[in-house]
């Protein structure tokens, strides 16, 4: 079993199975281009630095990849298709504790950076699900967004979108 070491921005090392890393477009490209999975070369021992991902977030990413080991890797463009996306129960439980917190957002950013399409889609979907049935002020409160609108602005938006209320 080939292990490849990932190094987080806070310099924690995470030895990860080569197979798992196929879910990450970014790392996979790096591995292939630099022959990092060739055990006969010195490159194999070379750790992969991930300066944009903190250790705790990377740990969660790896945990997610371990659970989804063997899942088909999404290909093509980054856009999610129109089919209804359902967040599976395990993933829902995985995201839920951190929902509305910075860690979930950092996980989403990491999924984007590492190009893990399935994780990104599910993570974004989990966030979008939190908007359902909420009002603007409720979303603001939950996601830490300051209220910038004047009453007049808010009224103008409501007017513009009157049909959707």
């Amino acid at each position: 079993m080939v292990l490849i070491t990932l190094v987080s921005s806070d310099e924690q090392n995470f030895p990860v199975e080569r197979e798992l890393l196929k879910q990450s477009g970014t790392i996979e490209t790096l591995i292939v281009n630099m022959n990092l999975d060739d055990e006969d070369t010195d490159a194999a021992a070379m750790p992969i630095p991930l300066p944009n991902v903190k250790g705790d977030v990377l740990e969660k990413v790896i945990q997610w990849m371990e659970h989804h080991k063997g899942d088909p890797v999404k290909e093509g463009d980054n856009e999610d298709n129109n089919a209804e996306i359902v967040v599976p129960q395990w993933d829902d439980d995985f995201f839920k504790p951190a929902m509305y917190g910075s860690k979930h957002l950092e996980l989403t950013v990491a999924a984007s950076y590492l190009d893990i399409k399935n994780l990104l889609t599910l993570s974004c979907k989990a966030i979008s699900n939190t908007f359902k049935g909420k009002t603007g002020p409720q979303i603001r409160e939950e996601w830490g967004v300051p209220n910038e609108f004047t009453p007049e602005e808010e009224e103008a938006i409501r007017k513009e979108n009157e049909w959707s209320e």
């Binding site: 129109n82 504790p97 989403t108 908007f131 359902k132 603007g136 996601w143 979108n161 959707s164 209320e165």
Partner: protein, 601 residues
């Protein structure tokens, strides 16, 4: 906490984030592209209403989000977008979503935001934009544009005349294309219906180009009977237009060669899936219209007949659409109809008297809460509720698709229903769109007989009954109103046209029209083309298949169902209306027949 415990805590999926639940500004962490991605996922296929509300909430969160949603071109899903040409000479087009509620129910059977978009073509764009901002909801969540100043017919005609003088056809066409483009930018229709259009090559190409700019629409339907395609339009032009539809599509007959259909369906996996039958749906829309809305068909028989005819019993659901186009149908009736659900296949064969325990869902309240119901007044109203369409949907996957139509009255407070013509066009389109028949000449829904005769299958409708509505029965020739037999050709305006006796072998032979008439609020059966004008009943031989006692049961069941119901509360029967089958004046020629009827009641 030991080091090991700490490690374990960190290793479980639920513990990791526990210490990091501090809320941070989402905008400070997520880049714009991820925010837009999230916004685009604010979707719930089966609940457009929720999606729209969520969009407004997102826009109201902060300026940045409002801007991002605005710029990200997130299109609002709607059911039907219909393009029709109001006036061919002047090239005036109308884009609306008439029948949205209809199609929404058909496609999703969920609570949707019903959306009513009606644009008056003569208004200039600024006015249209202003109008778009003055939308209001009706009580059922549907939306329609407020067009106070333009609603009246007089005003409409005046403006139209002025528009004729000021605008040329080319200008109107340009306006239309501009509007169409703008609407597609904002809305994402599931079905685009083009009808009643003089489709020149340039117009067709323009529409094609506009469609190509946007994501493909699920369904595109060209109502070929009313669309005149210019001679210079080529097959390639049409094929390019229809290439914008990802789902099953019907083409104008002369463009829809077998090869084209096969190629079309083979060009995308989505289309091939359709061919495999895995996700396809079949729906039969059987219109059972009755003159003045008097339904007397035993619905059990109707179900059974359809079931036998289609031989798809276990895979089909039957739904009865009650079409309430009566001006007299009061709000309570419509409310009841609106909320009804025929969820069980045999449900609508239920005796209404036992509605509390029966499986049926035909809950019709006549709205009388106190005192004695005014049957003489309300009965006619009740009877005018027209069963229009029987719909069947084949099961898809683990769940059954619910196919039932809805009464299209709009707006709720104005007390009228959508005219039959509007719905018929939609229904015709839908029958193509959601059936798997590509350009097969579907039977005309307005004539049940044609449907049955053309399919050469078992009888669809076993019998119909009808009443004359007029108070002056003596002046009305009853043969206009009633037929009996296996199947009758029906017309909404003219009533029964003729009847045929469809045999088990599929043959059809004409049978004699029969008649009912109303005389001083008593209903008389008449089986002759001309009943006596003085109220006496003339009965002649019933040739067809009504020769056994069972037949009489068929004949009388509807009476019990309709008249024996306590219309006030829809509960236990009180048989408040006496239906006399005998004579009031004059002498019936065949007393024995009348007696049989009375016994069976």
């Amino acid at each position: 906490m030991s080091v090991v415990d700490n490690y374990r805590r960190r290793s479980t999926p639920f513990s990791f984030f526990g210490h990091y639940r501090e809320a941070k500004n989402i905008n400070s962490i997520l880049p714009n592209e991820l925010l837009v991605r999230i916004f685009k996922l604010v979707d719930h296929k089966s609940d457009r209403n929720a999606k729209m509300r969520a969009f407004l909430a997102v826009r109201l969160t902060c300026r940045k989000w409002n801007e991002l949603v605005g710029k990200s071109r997130i299109r609002i899903p709607i059911g039907l977008m219909r393009i029709a040409q109001v006036d061919h000479s002047y090239g005036i087009f109308m884009v609306d979503s008439t029948g949205e509620e209809l199609i929404a129910e058909l496609m999703e059977n969920e609570n949707h935001l019903y959306y009513w978009l009606r644009k008056k073509p003569h208004i200039d764009y600024k006015k249209v934009k202003a109008m778009l901002r003055s939308i209001e909801f009706d009580t059922y969540g549907r939306v329609f544009f407020k067009t106070d100043q333009l609603w009246g017919e007089v005003e409409w005609n005046r403006l139209r005349r002025r528009s004729y003088e000021e605008k040329t056809a080319a200008q109107f066409t340009t306006y239309f294309l501009y509007e169409f483009n703008a609407l597609l930018e904002r809305y994402d229709p599931q079905l685009l219906l083009l009808e009643n259009i003089e489709l020149s090559r340039s117009l067709l190409q323009s529409i094609t180009v506009i469609l190509e700019r946007y994501r493909r629409i699920p369904r595109l339907y060209l109502e070929w009977k009313s669309v005149n395609i210019a001679p210079d339009v080529t097959t390639e032009d049409v094929q390019r237009l229809f290439a914008n539809s990802i789902d099953f599509t019907c083409l104008p007959r002369h463009f829809a060669t077998k090869e084209f259909c096969e190629n079309y369906l083979a060009t995308s996996p989505e289309r091939s899936i359709k061919l495999n039958g895995e996700t396809s749906s079949i729906a039969h829309f059987e219109k059972v219209a009755y003159f003045e809305g008097y339904l007397k068909t035993p619905l059990d028989d109707l179900c059974e007949a359809i079931e036998k005819r289609t031989k798809l019993s276990s895979e089909l659901e039957w739904h009865l659409y009650i079409y309430c186009n009566s001006y007299y149908a009061n709000e309570n009736i419509r409310e009841a109809l609106y909320n009804r659900k025929f969820e069980k296949r045999r449900g609508f064969g239920t005796d209404l008297r036992q509605n509390d325990t029966a499986t049926g869902y035909l809950t019709v309240s006549m709205g009388e809460s106190n005192g004695t119901p005014k049957f003489e007044h309300y009965l006619a109203e009740f009877m005018r509720l027209q069963p229009l369409v029987i719909v069947s949907g084949r099961a898809v996957g683990p769940t059954l698709e619910m196919w039932w139509l809805n009464c299209g009255f709009i707006p709720a407070g104005q007390g009228y229903c959508m005219p039959p013509k509007d719905q018929l066009a939609t229904i015709t389109a839908l029958r193509y769109a959601i059936s798997d028949m590509c350009n097969e000449p579907l039977p005309d829904v307005t004539v049940s007989m044609a449907l049955n005769a053309s399919l050469r299958l078992r009888p669809l409708v076993k019998c119909h009954y009808s009443f004359a509505k007029t108070k002056y029965a003596a002046e009305v020739a009853s043969d206009k109103f009633f037929c009996v037999g296996e199947l009758c050709g029906l017309n909404e305006d003219m009533g029964v046209r003729t009847c045929v006796n469809v045999t088990d072998l599929g043959g059809a032979e004409p049978i004699k029209n029969l008649g009912f008439f109303d005389y001083k609020r008593k209903f008389y059966l008449c089986d002759k083309p001309f009943c006596n004008g003085n109220g006496s009943v003339v009965l002649a031989s019933l040739n067809a298949s009504w020769t056994t006692p069972n037949t009489y049961t068929h004949l009388t069941n509807p009476f019990r169902r309709a008249f024996g119901t306590d219309l006030r509360q829809n509960r236990a029967a009180t048989a408040s209306l006496t239906v006399s089958m005998g004579e009031s004046e004059g002498t019936p020629i065949r007393n024995d027949f009348i007696c049989e009827i009375e016994k069976s009641q």
